[in-house]
Each structure stands twice: as C-alpha cells, then as structure tokens.
C-alpha cells in the first residue's frame, strides 16, 4: 500500500507519496502564504485546514497558517493550482505541475517593461510585498554641465572659504600647519572637474578674486551637451515568489511600464456598521488595500476604507474579520483550460 509521509520544517510543510511509478511531493511555504484559505476551499478531500490566522498574524503565534492532514491528502495538486500566491507547489518526479500544460493554471502575471521604465522607483516604494527591485545607473553629473574654472594660486590666500562653500564638494585644499621653512597654511588647492557644477559660488565668495569661472550651460544653453548623457539607465526585477499581482506597480507607474494581470475578479463589500475597527484586516491584507484614514491630523480614524484597484479578491480579510464585516465576492476565476471536468468544477466553485 502506498502511504504519504509528512515533513515539517519550521512552519513549512512537505507531503510526499513515493511509489515505483512516480514521486509526488507537495511543498508549502508559510512565509509566502497570505492566509486566504483558497487551498482549504478547493481541496477535494478536506485535507487542508486554515489555521487561526488572526492570532497568527497579530500575536505572532508560532504556527503555520494552514495544516495538511497527510492521511487525507491524495496529492492531486488542486491546492497548488488554485493558490493565488504560489505558496503551494506540487511536483511530480521533481517537475512542478505549474509547468505542465495538462494542469490548469491561474492566469496572473506582473511585468515591468524595460523599454518604457524610467527607473523612478515609485513601484519599488509602493509594492506591499517588497517584490520589486529597481537597479539604476545615474548619468554622470559632469556630463550635464559645461564650463570652465581656474584658480590663480598666486593670488589665493588659502582661506578655505571656497572649499567650505562649494555645494558639490569639488574643491579640496591641502591644509597643514605653517613652519619656518614653509610659512603657508595650505600647500595646494585643486578643483575636481567631475564634481564641479559651475555654480560660481566659489568665484563670488572668494575675498581676493582668485577664482575665474564661467558657466557655459547658462550662456550657451545646452548646445555642447549630449542629451543621451542625461539618461538614467537600469533594470527592473520582480521577485515572482513575493509578488501577489496586486497592481500597485501598475497604478503608480507614471509611464505605464508595469502591467499586472489578476486571476480573480470580484467585489469587496464592507459593512461599516458591523466593523469594530480592530484592524486585523489591514494587517493581513497582502495588497495594502485596506486602511483607516486619519480623521484629522494625527488622529487614527475608525472608518474602514478600501481601494479595490489593488484587491486580488483572495479573501484573507474576510477570514480574519471577527465580526463578519467584510465580504469578498469572487465573480471570475481565470485559468488556463483543462480537459478535466472535476478540476473545472472545483475551480469554478471558488466563485461566490
């Protein structure tokens, strides 16, 4: 008889069934799980149970968000296909069913086009899962300005005013204590032309007019500057494991470089009368959809507000709400086609 084995590593769970025919392995990652309970809803053998996610999220109870009964689990993979954040993954002989055409997959994606991206980092800042990294290479400052600067070292009295005033830290003096053999306070003064922006503050502040400087950007406009030199280049990276396809990057991007496709469509219904403003929903929401806006400056409000543009209709907030003040309706579950009637049925039953 083939039987399942379960291995628990920290809060992660792994259920295995090994037969001469094949090895099936279901892996659950707790740090990726958002506590939506969709796995428990779709499981045809009721092997998965959603834990006390409110307590886990708010009081740091040290347990997994879901439990898997290995005696009931048949390793069919429905939980893995339906998980909106890919916290569960079924592998058949080490190959994930997410890479197999016969298994239906949720249609969801997030992409940032490098052709359009201007590397402003708005998405990186807004992403509620810290899934985005923007690596950017800034233009060289010296190529964006043009001018000339010269210090007449014979006139210079080494007072150091220009060095102190320079906003670009472009002037450096070699200070030293005067001695009988060298009765000066500085042996040299240099201007770093890669740093100088020709603002002319040094020239204006020099008490002995030892600095000659001119800014050509001002007098000649941008003629001798190469526009390409002013471009910021870089690359963007989305951590697929952390990304939940919430749409923050798409909404915040000023140049429409981010595109997000969501697997579920639906409606988020808040019942303000029932809500007791405990804030559990705000804490659990993986998409930063919910908030209690300040009523006046510095005073936390108690009216729950939702921005559905960022909602993935996972239902975690509904699960965690102790007073049933939130209802998450799912009206569409988008997935790749499957020939299996039972899979089709189970997936469509995620609609409410």
């Amino acid at each position: 008889m083939v039987t399942n084995t379960k291995e628990v590593k920290g809060k992660d769970i792994c259920v295995q069934r090994v037969s001469p025919e094949e090895k099936r392995e279901l892996a659950y990652k707790d740090d990726v799980c958002v506590g939506c309970g969709i796995c428990a809803k779709i499981c045809p053998t009721e092997a998965i149970e959603l834990g006390e996610i409110g307590a886990i999220e708010r009081t740091g109870v040290d347990e997994s968000k879901i439990s898997i009964d290995e005696a009931k689990c048949v390793l069919c993979g429905m939980c893995s296909s339906a998980c909106p954040v890919d916290a569960l993954d079924l592998k058949l002989d080490e190959k994930s069913i997410k890479d197999m055409a016969e298994y239906p997959q949720l249609i969801k994606s997030a992409e940032i086009s490098d052709d359009l991206c201007i590397y402003c980092k708005a998405c990186e800042t807004a992403c509620p899962r810290d899934a985005i990294t923007i690596a950017r290479i800034l233009p060289e400052r010296s190529k964006l300005v043009t001018g000339e600067i010269e210090i007449d070292k014979d006139t210079c009295i080494s007072c150091g005013i220009c060095e102190e005033m320079c906003p670009a830290d472009a002037i450096e003096m070699e200070h030293h204590e005067p001695t009988s053999s060298d009765p000066t306070v500085s042996s040299d003064i240099t201007v770093n032309k890669d740093k100088c922006v020709y603002c002319l503050i040094c020239r204006k502040s020099c008490p002995v007019d030892a600095i000659k400087a001119v800014c050509r950007s001002c007098s000649y406009g941008d003629y001798d500057l190469n526009p390409e030199d002013s471009e910021t280049t870089g690359s963007s990276f989305i951590d697929e494991e952390a990304c939940v396809n919430c749409g923050w990057c798409q909404e915040i991007c000023p140049v429409d470089a981010a595109t997000v496709e969501k697997a579920f469509e639906g409606e988020l219904i808040l019942n303000q009368e029932k809500c007791e403003a405990c804030g559990a929903c705000v804490d659990i929401c993986p998409c930063n959809v919910l908030s209690f806006p300040e009523e006046e400056f510095g005073v936390q409000g108690d009216k729950l507000q939702a921005d559905e543009r960022f909602c993935i209709y996972c239902g975690a907030c509904e699960n965690v709400c102790p007073v049933e003040a939130i209802e998450v309706k799912r009206t569409a579950v988008k997935h790749t086609p499957t020939k299996s009637k039972s899979w089709e049925k189970q997936l469509s039953e995620l609609k409410t």
């Binding site: 390793l75 020939k339 899979w343």
Partner: protein, 142 residues
C-alpha cells in the same frame, strides 16, 4: 500452472522460461510432470480461486516482482472485467500507484484503466478519494 496456460496459448518453452525467469529445463521438467509436487499444485490451484484481490496480493507478496506477478495473475485469471472512470476523477494518481498490474495511467488529469489488464481486485476503487471508479465483471456467456 502459468506455464501450462502459456504453452496452451502457443508460446514455446523457451519463451515461457524467459517470461517466468526460469531455467528452460526446469520449465520442461514441470511441463512433463517430473519433479512435481502434487501438493504444491493443489495449493496453487486454490490460490487462483481466491477472490481477485487476495490472489493478486498473495502472488505479489510471494514473488515481490511486479512483472512476474502481472503475467501469472493475468494468465491464471479466467474472468474479464470492464473498468470505467467517471468525470469526477481528480487525477490524483492514487489508483495508478496502487494498481499492482500497472493497468492505470493518467491522461489529462483523468485515470484511464486498461480493462485487458484489470483482474478485478478493486483496490483502485477502494483508494479512490472521489469514488470515480466502477469495475464490472464481464459475463462471458457461462
């Protein structure tokens, strides 16, 4: 007994020896009635008349070899079966892993049972989490 059946089906002694992984001369001795324990033949006959599940599991337990078990059980089972899988199958593969005769494969998330190999042991039906398997004995006109 398997050897007798296989010879009846028209196989040569050499082929029979190869399938059962036996020495050819041993096969020949058996078939000619030498070195034969009538007692063990009687036991073997009783085993083949067990219910299909017991016949299969006992044979597998004795041989611990799935290929030989398949040949012996299929050769000595006289009944045929018609197996069908309903749409409620979720493609979990439990039946595939359970079937000792390797008669089941998954096809687009649905089990497909090769009725020619099915010996009616019903073990797949028993493990199926969704009760999707139906196995019927085919009336051969007896």
């Amino acid at each position: 007994m398997t050897a007798v059946e296989l010879i009846r089906e028209g196989l040569s002694q050499k082929e029979v020896a190869k399938i059962l992984e036996m020495d050819r001369s041993t096969v020949s001795h058996y078939l000619n009635g030498r070195n034969l324990s009538w007692n063990s033949i009687e036991v073997a006959e009783i085993i083949t008349k067990f219910c299909p599940k017991d016949f299969l599991t006992l044979t597998y337990a004795l041989l611990n070899d799935s290929e030989k078990t398949r040949v012996i059980v299929k050769t000595c089972s006289k009944k045929s079966y018609e197996a069908s899988v309903e749409e409620s199958c979720i493609g979990c593969g439990l039946c595939v892993d359970t079937c000792l005769l390797n008669a089941i494969v998954l096809d687009d998330l649905k089990a497909r049972i090769d009725s020619d190999w099915c010996n009616g042991c019903n073990m797949c039906r028993d493990v199926c989490p969704t009760d999707s398997i139906k196995i019927l004995e085919v009336n051969n006109g007896y």
